[in-house]
């Protein structure tokens, strides 16, 4: 009798997704799919709202990286108010950068220490009851505490720049609504240990070393797990440097050949298409020049370190050189190396935060610029999980008439499906018994991409967790509630 395995929801990711794996009578995998079962209606919700509300409204897409949506929408609105790329005041752009790099720090720290490190430090087959941050603390309390404090530091940066830790209002069309006071700056630069930026840099360096050490000891598994060739897409600075806040679109193929380069993202529709499939609410974006079949791509830390030429901060650049040397300068297509790339980005974020804190422009008084208003704008940003597209049109009454969002996780839709399929074929297919550890490997593959499937609302007592095994006729063979 054929069987279907369902993992729902996928755990230690953001939001609600499900995996189905169909097995034939011999236990061989015949199909695997990663579904997103939440419907996100934000493109419709914002229609009719005044354009200046967008940066505040759309960030409610997410409780983890709201700053990405806040800033991507603000960048699109900058264009609409005639203060697009390069026209913001130095204070406004640097405050936004500080906010964004603070977010990268907190999100990457949360993902690695809280969501992913249990798989590495405790093992993918460890008892799920201990495969979590408390299990990590039992093994290495200092490490667990560092993860929490890195996240807290990033959140405090966001509070100081956006006004609130979650769903702030700092970025406004054409600028920012506050600068950084000397007191705030000094707290981050010279705060009592451990909450100061030098300590964050040191812990970020240690996190990179931790992963490198794990990699040295588990090279075959880390390199081979869900390794598959792909294209890679991200923003890069005009000169090819890694930049999370602004740049031009660049894509490379699995061999490193540039598929896109120096593309102004206002024209993203000319180079990116979106395909829909009946079994998922999430679209499947692709590079138009390569077509639907071959044009899918990865975004996020792995992709960013494949597309950029260098990292503009010394410690992260040094680590980048080690990282690139491992693949002889070629693109890295190993899914678990995303964690390595993410930790190098964590270090880079901490370095950039320090550089910005030392910049006197953050105490400037010129916060907002406006120019000639236009009816359409696109804002792009490199969110922690990858490239995030916001596109809006407005009418003569300043109301939003169209919104199109391509979120990072949507960009990674096909790669996550490929990663799930790799695990299904290599860990589950034709095995006499499906263990919890095997199912966790499916989640490990998805988790590497740190998907944010949506987390728009919450209330006490909501969020079921269920794993169901169903036969080909739909009969439930086994159900686990975690």
């Amino acid at each position: 009798m054929g069987r279907k395995i369902t993992i729902e929801p996928v755990t230690r990711v953001e939001g609600h997704g499900k995996v189905t794996i169909r097995l034939d009578d011999a236990g061989k995998v015949t199909q695997s799919r990663f579904h997103v079962v939440e419907f996100r209606g934000f493109e419709r919700f914002v229609q009719g709202r005044p354009y200046w509300e967008a940066p505040v409204l759309v960030q409610r897409l997410c409780g983890i990286c709201p700053v990405s949506h806040h800033l991507a929408a603000a960048k699109a609105m900058d264009v609409i108010v005639g203060a697009g790329p390069g026209k913001l005041t130095a204070t406004a752009e640097k405050m936004r950068r500080l906010m964004h790099y603070g977010q990268m720090l907190q999100s990457h720290a949360l993902h690695f220490f809280y969501l992913s490190s249990p798989d590495f430090l405790l093992g993918m087959d460890a008892d799920p009851a201990v495969r979590n941050i408390i299990g990590v603390a039992a093994l290495n309390k200092d490490l667990a505490v560092q993860g929490v404090l890195l996240r807290k530091f990033g959140q405090e940066i966001i509070l100081a720049t956006a006004g609130k830790k979650i769903h702030g209002t700092g970025a406004v069309p054409g600028g920012i609504n506050k600068n950084l006071s000397p007191e705030e700056r000094d707290r981050f630069l010279k705060g009592a240990a451990p909450l100061n930026i030098d300590q964050m840099i040191e812990w970020s360096r240690a996190a990179v070393e931790l992963f490198k050490d794990y990699h040295r000891k588990n090279k075959d598994m880390v390199d081979g797990f869900a390794e598959f060739p792909s294209n890679h897409l991200s923003l890069v600075r005009k000169d090819g440097a890694l930049d999370f806040y602004h740049g031009v679109l660049r894509a490379v193929d699995a061999e490193g050949r540039k598929v896109l380069d120096d593309v102004d993202y206002q024209n993203y529709l000319e180079v990116i298409g979106e395909e829909t499939r009946s079994w998922s609410y999430m679209k499947f974006p692709y590079l138009r020049s390569l077509g639907k079949t071959d044009g899918w791509y990865r975004v996020g830390p792995l992709a960013r370190l494949n597309t950029c030429d260098y990292i503009p901060s010394p410690l992260a650049q040094k680590e980048f050189e080690v990282y690139k040397a491992y693949t002889d300068g070629k693109p890295n297509n190993m899914s678990l190396h995303t964690h390595w790339a993410r930790l190098i980005e964590l270090l880079h974020s901490a370095e950039v935060i320090k550089e910005l804190l030392l910049d006197k422009d953050l105490q400037g008084a010129k916060l907002v610029k406006k120019g000639k208003k236009v009816a359409e704008g696109v804002g792009l940003i490199e969110a922690p999980r990858g490239t995030l597209f916001h596109h809006y049109r407005i009418n003569d009454d300043d109301q939003i008439t169209m919104a199109n969002l391509i979120v990072s996780t949507t960009n990674n839709n096909e790669p996550m499906n490929r990663a799930v399929h790799w695990v299904a074929m290599n860990a589950l297919s034709e095995k006499p018994e499906i263990t919890e550890g095997m199912l966790n490997r499916v989640e490990v593959a998805i988790r590497a991409y740190d998907p944010c499937l949506s987390c728009a609302t919450h209330a006490v007592g909501r969020m079921p967790l269920e794993v169901t095994l169903v036969d080909a006729r739909g009969n439930v063979l086994q159900r686990k509630v975690r």
């Binding site: 755990t11 230690r12 009851a129 505490v145």
Partner: protein
């Protein structure tokens, strides 16, 4: 939360988050009593006030955490187990951008009055 702050209760610190997360364990570990407050579906009363204990095992969940998990992290990382309660206030409308309904406003007022009394009694 703003309304609670306006009551200027001595020895009470307020923090508002979109969702609970790991660093909230650090804040919990630094206090004797912790009250988690949120809107709730499915209640029959205007509000409920219940004791919360650290989870025996961590739920394998997403970024968002429940109060029990936060307390478990506070115990696991900082060795602290504050007296904790959950104040769940009945809500009625959940649409994006909706303000509080009149009935939810009334429930909130009742819940805050109750909480103020509890906190005054709990004060050492």
């Amino acid at each position: 939360m703003e309304r609670l702050k306006r009551r200027r209760l001595r020895g009470v610190a307020c923090d508002a988050n979109y969702q609970l997360n790991v660093e909230d364990a650090l804040a919990c570990a630094g206090h004797d009593t912790v009250i988690f407050v949120d809107a709730a579906r499915g209640l029959r009363r205007p509000f409920t006030f219940t004791e919360v204990r650290a989870a025996g095992s961590m739920p394998a969940m997403s970024h968002a955490l429940g109060p029990e998990a936060i307390l478990a992290i506070a115990a696991g990382l900082y060795g602290k187990t504050p007296d904790a309660r959950l104040l769940a206030i009945r809500g009625y409308r959940w649409t994006l951008g909706e303000g509080l309904s009149a009935k939810a406003e009334a429930n909130l007022a009742l819940a805050l009055d109750f909480l103020e009394g509890f906190l005054k009694e709990a004060r050492p």
